[in-house]
Symmetry: C2
Subunit: 453 residues, 2 copies
């Protein structure tokens, strides 16, 4: 493989983490959509992957001489905590998903200013140093930054290596309004990203918003190319998975009412889980004919429980479920667990898949579910999920704030005739198959002049 | 005065309201910045003013034959309540000031959908009918709509009178993101406004955001002219007022510590009153030398107490004051009252004027205060207030979410040297005098082709 095809992938979470079990080093494949997505890249390119060391054993690996294919960067614990738990989550995540209750939150104090400087900037600097070291080994490599943890790193790299080829993929929504972040910080975010040759998003909408916020913050994009390519699913892996014993075993334990509404989400306020339960209650209120015939199954992966807003959100979810079930009987079944085989089993069995996110960069559930569903299930999809840009034609679109509208959409999905359901399910499946993960990668690489040449 | 100069001004609140006292009809001058601003127009143009009847006696006046200079439109009580208390406030107000806690609020139910149709649209239709009737009397008049209560009316008028000259001034911020409002409603807002020949805002920022949201919602502005003219103060009226007996009497009762920080606001979550108190606490914590020497005087006009969010906000304000005063002694003095002479007295006496709004279309306090201040006082001004676009050069700018930054700004203002304070105070006063209310009106009228011709 030629040196031109070396990619230096930079992301907070890497493809593997290490633990020590009974004195032996054990390698675990990392989780998260980004890791899944980038795994495919490694089959076609020479990849150096730079990521944070997140376990004790990771830090041991990080300290070993090597320069192997995965470079783990060991950060100071306090700097990492500020970077991850104060700045990236919740601040940047909340800004980009429009989740702040701006009338009262956030209140930026000295602790936040310190966290920006001593946490976010410092960790980004460490990443940049690792990138520059990797470029010394592979001067013609393309550097491929990922996501909101690393907005400052590209500018640090650019200062040290003016001719490097740098690209950045932002996996979450991009809002126009960044006014929550003080001016020097929002300028740094934009200057950092614009140090890349290419900045890419999932959708045209986020790319356009980025161009607008650049105009407002730093007067334009200054020659950086702004593109969009929606992430997708590894179709082959999903087909293998849906036929696996683990998924079949999980399938046998699912509830099987006359109609099954499924949702699969992390317990993140952006996912709009509470409003989804309220919409289901409105459905049962307005259409009593569905009582006793339809169950909502919510498979929820616990998320970021070191952040107070996320702990509160789990409590809100539990309260909403209790209220609806107290009223209508056990109509909502919730399972809080990280159990992917069970999610795939539910994908196969849903009659309606509810994805009603407040805001979402893309939302892979909306692609994974239709790919393996076996019941001509209907996708009810938030117009604020990036996937809506691709899938609207075959989904029932909903406004995430409109609980009454979501109840109407659930009813429309439940009563839809078999022919129309099949037409839509076929359309979704064809779209996901046609624009799979390899298309995403090919699209991204075609934006990079040197890699494409 | 020629017929060409007839203006049909349309706003929810009119310039007068009527009450019956001891069997006699009593006329009261209406309140609010819009009424003050438009009073000046009446001196130069033949004005027909169409507004809602808001009192029992208004409804009697509305029913009387006439066609006088003020036309009061009597709406059904329930329709008006839905229009005003459900749709305009809080929904549109909260969207446009970015105040929704989108993770959990709003939840649009059937009641909101009904309020849109049976309240907001119906009241807008009634206004449009009144405008068409007025145009029958004055076919060459210019129609001048005001604000967020009347987004649908222009399209209704346009359908009936395709050649009418229609203009609309939006007095509050315009955000790019309207996704809280379901698509048919946000489309109706944009289609309604674009039925005007001219749509005007206070600032370039809001005008640009409008062009962007038009692009996202209806594919562009379709030939409607989008302009911006910042509202200002009636300088002559203010000079008379500041010398009045009422203001002098109020002045004598003000606290007079070594340094006086003043804020003057309605009790609206957009005004950011709680964070202002927290910033003052951070100042006293980080700069103990100010304890006992500086008082914050907050003159708060109670607002919209029929809306739960506003009642809660008053409780939040009271709690914040109690906490700060429990900690540092009686350092914050709050007066909740509609007492304009007292506000003008405080304008004259401040050392620092704090205007830290979360978001604000313009903010007239930032112009009124510097116009009459007598102590070389310093303006600390939110970068999210429309007035910042004009006044930044002479103010200390603050990010409304950055409580630590606001504390720094207060300290900077308190220690600023006399020469620099005078330079800035002079700059502010000259700017306000130079661009007074007559400039605003002249600018608006120059945008209207027929009126300007």
């Amino acid at each position: 493989m030629s040196e031109q095809n070396t990619l230096i992938v930079v992301s907070n979470r890497g493809p593997v983490t290490y633990d020590k079990v009974d004195g032996r080093r054990v390698e675990r494949r990392g989780g998260g959509g980004l890791v899944t997505a980038l795994r495919g890249v490694r089959e076609q390119h020479h990849v150096i992957w730079i990521a944070s060391a997140t376990t004790d054993e990771d830090r041991v690996v990080a300290g070993e001489a090597g320069g192997g294919e995965v470079v783990l960067v060991a950060h100071e614990a306090e700097a990492y905590d500020r970077y991850y738990n104060v700045v990236a989550n919740p601040m940047l995540w909340f800004i980009q998903h429009s989740l702040w209750d701006q009338a009262s939150r956030p209140e930026l104090g000295l602790a936040f200013h310190d966290a920006w400087r001593e946490g976010y900037a410092r960790v980004n600097r460490s990443f940049a140093d690792a990138v520059v070291a990797a470029l010394d080994e592979h001067p013609d490599a393309t550097v491929f930054f990922h996501d909101y943890h690393l907005y400052l790193a590209p500018k640090f790299v650019r200062a040290a290596r003016p001719d490097a080829l740098l690209a950045h993929f932002v996996h979450i929504p991009w809002p126009v309004d960044w006014s929550v972040l003080p001016e020097p910080m929002r300028r740094a975010v934009h200057d950092g990203l614009l140090a890349n040759d290419v900045v890419a998003f999932h959708t045209r909408r986020w790319a356009q918003n980025f161009e607008r916020s650049c105009e407002d913050t730093v007067g334009g994009t200054h020659g950086t190319r702004v593109t969009h390519h929606p992430l997708s699913v590894d179709v082959a892996e999903f087909e293998r998975l849906q036929a696996s014993n683990a998924v079949r075993a999980a399938e046998a334990t699912l509830p099987r009412p006359e109609k099954l509404i499924v949702r699969v989400d992390r317990t993140d306020p952006s996912k709009n889980i509470v409003r989804g339960f309220h919409a289901f209650a409105v459905l049962l209120e307005e259409h009593p004919e569905w009582r006793g015939r339809v169950t909502m199954l919510a498979l929820l992966d616990p998320s970021r429980q070191s952040i107070p807003e996320y702990v509160e959100y789990v409590a809100d979810i539990e309260r909403a479920v209790r209220e609806v079930n107290d009223r209508f009987g056990p109509v909502i079944s919730v399972q809080v667990a990280d159990d992917f085989p069970r999610s795939v089993a539910a994908y196969k069995q849903y009659d309606v898949l509810l994805v009603n996110a407040v805001s979402d960069g893309l939302n892979l559930v909306a692609k994974e579910g239709p790919l393996v569903n076996q019941r001509g299930g209907v996708l009810v999809l938030s117009e604020n999920a990036g996937a809506y840009e691709e899938l609207a034609e075959w989904a029932i679109g909903v406004n995430p704030f409109d609980v009454w509208g979501q109840a109407q959409a659930l009813h429309e999905a439940l009563v839809m005739e078999a022919g129309e359901r099949a037409r839509r399910a076929d359309g979704l499946r064809a779209q996901v198959r046609d624009r799979d993960l390899s298309q995403w990668i090919a699209g991204l690489l075609s934006d990079l002049p040197r890699a494409a040449a």
